[in-house]
């Protein structure tokens, strides 16, 4: 017990690169470890530095910081929706449909002069219900990917029916400027919404037993179930959270545009998926950090801003965005490999029948 021989055995069982970095050859692995742990943040800072030099003086200004924060807000909200559900083990692609329906519901209620708070809560409630329907379908055994894509189509039809397939305008009386276009302490309102969602999400996932179990179910649903955690309940929670966040996103977009469009914004979905991918949340579930999705969203918005400010023609800008995103993912993978961080599963070479 605690003998040097035992230590040697233990050390020999671990993959060599997982040994403490101070024993390793030098600063490179330590740097890689640092980058790996905070990959998205480092990449974002690198982008900021790059564009500050290359895109011109207009980039690195307070005003532009506000614009980038504002532009990343909607991506961040939808990214939170996707990320929370992914952490619980399912990919919810119906998010833009939920956003469209929630936006239309909120706008129509406001047009009927329902008090603002009530309209907003009702719309979020719609998101929760959609999440429950998604969860019910998945618990009945349907494949989550196919189910949520089907729901997306259904929801776009519902939004079209509810609105006559025309955008629902927000009037001056029933407006959402406080949510969309106003600034508080010079910070755009949507940024506050993002802050609230991410702080609550982070607290839930890291500090409560609910979050711990949600991650466990996402990581190893069968294992969690076998030790008595109610896996279905936490998967349902994942869908409910994504439905609610998607609804909030839809309401914020309606606030920003002063109208609710019934057409699901698949472009936003793609950006949100990219933000989630950049954050390292495994789409297979159970591992990853929610705050990193925020940096993923910032990366996308920073890219767009930098390329426009520099003046790159749109077609080239699209190509550059794609290349930079692949590059970011490659850096993430590269540092992972450099640390030899292969997921080490406890092996059981002999198994009984």
């Amino acid at each position: 017990m605690g003998s040097p021989a035992e230590h040697a055995t233990v050390g020999g069982d671990l993959t060599p690169a997982a040994a403490p970095p101070s024993r390793a050859a030098g600063w490179a692995p330590r740097l890689a470890a640092g980058v790996r742990a905070r990959g998205v943040v480092v990449i974002w800072l690198a982008l900021v530095a790059f564009f500050s030099a290359w895109a011109g003086p207009a980039f690195f200004t307070l005003n532009n910081a506000r614009l980038v924060a504002d532009a990343s807000a909607t991506t961040a909200i939808f990214g939170a929706a996707l990320g929370l559900c992914a952490l619980a083990g399912a990919l919810d692609l119906s998010v833009p449909g939920t956003a469209a329906v929630a936006g239309v519901v909120c706008a129509k209620l406001l047009a009927d002069q329902v008090p603002t708070a009530l309209a907003v809560f009702a719309a979020i409630g719609v998101g929760v219900v959609i999440g429950l329907v998604n969860a019910a379908a998945v618990e009945l055994g349907l494949n989550p990917l196919a189910t949520t894509i089907g729901m997306l189509t259904a929801l776009s039809g519902i939004a079209a029916l509810m609105s006559g397939n025309q955008p629902v305008l927000l009037s001056a009386a029933g407006n959402l400027n406080w949510l969309g276009n106003n600034h508080y302490l010079t910070i755009p309102a949507p940024v506050f919404v993002v802050a609230v969602i991410y702080v609550l999400g982070w607290l839930l996932l890291t500090k409560t037993y609910i979050g711990i179990r949600l991650l466990a179910v996402g990581g190893n649903a069968d294992g969690a179930r076998r030790i008595g955690v109610r896996a279905p309940a936490y998967r349902v929670l994942g869908f409910v959270l994504s439905g609610a966040c998607a609804a909030i996103g839809g309401i914020v977009v309606a606030a920003v545009l002063s109208q609710a469009s019934p057409t699901p914004d698949t472009n936003e979905l793609f950006q949100a998926l990219t933000a989630v991918a950049l954050s390292g949340i495994a789409l297979s579930g159970g591992r990853g950090s929610l705050p990193r999705v925020l940096f993923g969203a910032l990366i996308i918005a920073t890219l767009n801003s930098g390329l426009i400010i520099h003046g790159m023609a749109p077609a080239w800008a699209t190509l550059a965005t794609g290349i930079l995103l692949v590059g970011a993912l490659a850096i993430d993978q590269g540092t992972a490999k450099m640390l030899g961080f292969v997921r080490f599963r406890g092996t059981s070479s002999r198994r009984s029948g």
């Binding site: 409560t208 991650l215 008595g228 092996t347 029948g353």
Partner: protein, 256 residues
């Protein structure tokens, strides 16, 4: 304490278990042995509530129970450590050990579900120390970075927590030493003996005959889904046990 009577498990035409009776008493260690495909893990799953038998019934302390799922079995006092350990790889040691029984902060933060991370880490360290595991390092490491033996220790610790509390009086271990080296196997042995000594009934499914003869009070042999022997360890002969496992020896009198 735990009595299984006439357990059948059929998958279509395949008979994984046929008319198997099994008894477990408090403080007893029963080794469940047999060749591959004999049905050992299936029987364990039935005891843990993870699989419903197609025939037969289960009683705990004389009361009939119908386990609809693992939670029912846990409520009746059964804890199980699976061969694949059922750990959450991305989560750290402390989280895995306390999963399902996370210590909460005092009210009012506790009402919101906030956990006491310090307590989680302390409990984890205590459990690992009780298992004589001292070389794991920080309990904040993700379990996927641990060796097979260390992961086994974490899985055992997770079960051990519940043995002290809430009525858990039966522990099932599926191949507890399969992935372990010599030193670690001896640690697990001592854990089994200690646990039984505290009044818990332990069932171990294993290929490791020396382990059986070291710790078991009774040895039950399965062959192709049927119980072929149920002997006191003191009265058992290694060759006889091997013969029952391979089928070269006739089943005991009174058994199929």
């Amino acid at each position: 304490m735990l009595a299984l009577t006439g357990i059948d498990v059929h998958f279509g035409a395949v008979r994984a278990l046929s008319q198997v009776d099994f008894l477990l008493n408090a403080g007893e260690v029963v080794a469940l042995v047999g060749d591959n495909g004999a049905g050992k893990s299936t029987l364990l799953s039935v005891m843990a509530g993870a699989r419903r038998p197609t025939g037969g019934h289960i009683s705990v302390d004389g009361t009939r129970h119908d386990f609809h799922g693992p939670r029912d079995a846990a409520a009746a006092g059964v804890q199980i450590v699976y061969q694949d350990l059922a750990l959450v790889d991305a989560a750290d040691i402390a989280t895995n050990i306390t999963l399902g029984r996370e210590p909460r902060r005092r009210a009012p933060a506790g009402w919101l579900g906030l956990v006491d991370k310090k307590a989680m880490r302390r409990v984890a360290r205590e459990q690992l120390a009780a298992l004589e595991v001292s070389n794991v390092g920080a309990v904040t490491q993700p379990v996927e970075m641990l060796s097979g033996g260390q992961r086994q220790a974490v899985a055992l610790a997770r079960a051990a927590i519940r043995l002290g509390t809430d009525n858990a009086r039966m522990l099932l271990l599926d191949e507890p030493t399969a992935a372990l080296g010599y030193q670690q196997s001896r640690q697990v042995e001592r854990f089994i003996v200690r646990t039984a000594a505290s009044g818990v009934g332990v069932v171990i499914v294993t290929h490791d005959l020396p382990l059986c003869f070291e710790v078991a009070n009774r040895i039950v042999v399965l062959n192709r889904g049927r119980k072929v022997a149920d002997v006191e360890r003191a009265a058992a002969d290694v060759d006889h046990v091997v013969g029952w496992i391979t089928g070269s020896r006739e089943p005991q009198a009174g058994l199929a």
